[in-house]
């Protein structure tokens, strides 16, 4: 029980350069509190996140993967995040069909002005992952 109390998940977070990264920055400069579980990776666009990257994180033992991007219609590259959405739907389906925990994946739109939302998403997702517990792939040796 004690161990669960202190379980701090590791969440790989992809932040798009133009909105979400600035949003995360704003959360920082506004001194908003959110869990230290987030490991940020900046990408130029959320659509740069190949499903392979998410899979790799998942199989290498990350407890959760969060992909963030600009709100729909606000993409710096016009339409990148629409593709991200379709790809994400697809990847979740793959996870569901194979009985993997698709709840460990999350997609969120965070604009540069939404420091609040970013902190909220990070807190909520961390809480959710805490409930799910550790990713079992961490200790599997036959991957």
């Amino acid at each position: 029980m004690k161990k669960d109390d202190i379980f701090l998940p590791k969440i790989l977070t992809f932040l798009c350069n133009w909105c979400s990264y600035a949003g995360a920055d704003l959360a920082g400069t506004s001194r908003l509190q959110y869990p230290a579980s987030i490991l940020p990776v900046r990408v130029m666009c959320s659509s740069r996140v190949d499903p392979l990257l998410i899979l790799r994180a998942f199989l290498n033992g990350f407890d959760g993967v969060l992909v963030t991007g600009c709100h729909l219609g606000d993409c710096h590259y016009q339409e990148g995040n629409y593709y991200t959405r379709r790809r994400f739907v697809m990847l979740k389906k793959v996870f569901d069909s194979l009985g993997l925990e698709s709840d460990r994946l999350r997609l969120s739109w965070v604009s540069a002005a939404e420091g609040q939302k970013y902190a909220k998403v990070a807190t909520e997702f961390t809480q959710k992952i805490r409930e799910l517990g550790e990713n079992s792939s961490k200790n599997k040796i036959f991957l």
Partner: protein, 368 residues
């Protein structure tokens, strides 16, 4: 209006002759078809320009040495062929080719596509041990009756897409009780009609025996559900480890996959190479490591890359040296992916691959 060419001869022979005349009359400069190169099921796809060479052609041989979609893409990758070519392919090969054309890996122009309703193919090993020749008469009997053959590739037994999409000419095989005596070439397009002008045979009015095809579809669908449900349920990482744990990492499945077209696969690149130091750090972290590592990552990665266009030809499972049930996984997961986007790979050349297009209002529930 006449929409079919009737030739009163054994089907395979009539098509062979039809192709010969095409070459002789210079309607096409080449023919792409299966050809016998030896005894006991040694057949291979060939591009033939001399009509004599067609004597050994076996256009409807129930074997798929390589998915022809992949081969056609190799021929037409840089642009359409300079001369017209008639190609005889199976429905799933045609669908694979269409998927490749969508990915700009092939060109349709100058190809006359001849396909047929397909009774399925046998695994490759039946061609190496020669058992396929013994099965042939049973095979054609079953096709005539509209029954599912035994011992086919698992992918074929469970295939419900046995009528070709977008072929210029379709040869009526399934449920055609007079295969030995009569051959019907159904003309689907203008190109097909042009091709049969001034050819031997009689132009008649004919369509598929729709009732029979419907019955056959029902049989296949039943077989498919059985195939999906009876086989081991894959539920979670542990099951995946059981299935993929025996993978030797030869990457043969991606080499034969018609949709895997990358010249340098990410999984063959140095990007994913395990350096000695990486083994050490992984072992330290996990307390052990399968060698070669990364097999599940490879298969799941390939699934996310090609699953959306998987035509379910079953080549991957056929070449797998350790019998991983790849058809089951790729067909099942692939179809579940395709269903979200209501997409049938290779059905319609003008339809975009779901992952390169979007609607503004869709899947809003995914964002959270």
């Amino acid at each position: 209006m006449a929409n079919a060419l009737k030739i009163t001869k054994n089907t395979e022979e009539s098509v062979r002759e039809f192709l010969k005349i095409l070459l002789e009359k210079r309607k096409v400069k080449g023919v792409f078809t299966l050809k016998k190169i030896g005894k006991n099921g040694a057949v291979t796809y060939s591009l033939i320009t001399k009509s004599d060479e067609l004597n050994d052609a076996v256009p409807f041989y129930p074997l798929m040495p390589t998915n022809a979609g992949k081969l056609l893409s190799r021929i037409t990758r840089n642009g359409s062929t300079t001369e017209p070519v008639a190609v005889i392919v199976k429905p799933c090969e045609l669908r694979a080719f269409i998927e490749l054309v969508k990915r700009e890996q092939g060109h349709f122009e100058n190809l006359y596509i001849i396909s047929s309703t397909c009774g399925g193919v046998y695994p490759l090993k039946t061609a190496t041990d020669g058992t396929i020749e013994k099965n042939l008469s049973d095979y054609w009997d079953a096709v005539k009756k509209g029954e599912i053959n035994q011992d086919l590739r698992p992918a074929c037994t469970a295939c419900t897409e046995f009528t070709p999409y977008g072929a210029d000419i379709t040869v009526d095989l399934i449920g055609n009780t007079e295969l030995e005596k009569k051959c019907f070439l159904l003309l689907n397009t203008k190109k097909g009609e042009e091709l049969v002008q001034d050819m031997k045979g009689e132009l008649v009015d004919r369509d598929f025996d729709k009732e029979k095809l419907k019955k056959f579809y029902a049989k296949r669908e039943k077989a498919k559900n059985q195939f999906f449900n009876e086989n081991t349920k894959i539920n979670g990482l542990d099951d995946l480890i059981k299935i993929f744990g025996r993978c030797i990492g030869c990457h043969g499945c991606s080499k034969v996959c018609p949709i895997c077209y990358c010249t340098l696969c990410m999984f063959d690149s140095s990007n994913l190479e395990y350096k000695p130091s990486k083994y050490e750090s992984e072992v330290r972290q996990r307390g052990g490591l399968k060698i070669p590592p990364g097999t599940i990552y490879y298969h799941l990665g390939r699934l996310t890359h090609v699953g959306i266009s998987c035509v379910g030809c079953g080549s991957c499972e056929d070449v797998c040296p350790v019998n991983i049930p790849l058809t089951l996984i790729f067909k099942k997961v692939g179809e579940s992916m395709q269903q979200i986007f209501e997409y049938i790979p290779g059905k319609n050349i003008t339809e975009k691959i779901p992952l390169v297009t979007y609607n503004e209002e869709e899947y809003t529930e995914i964002e959270g």
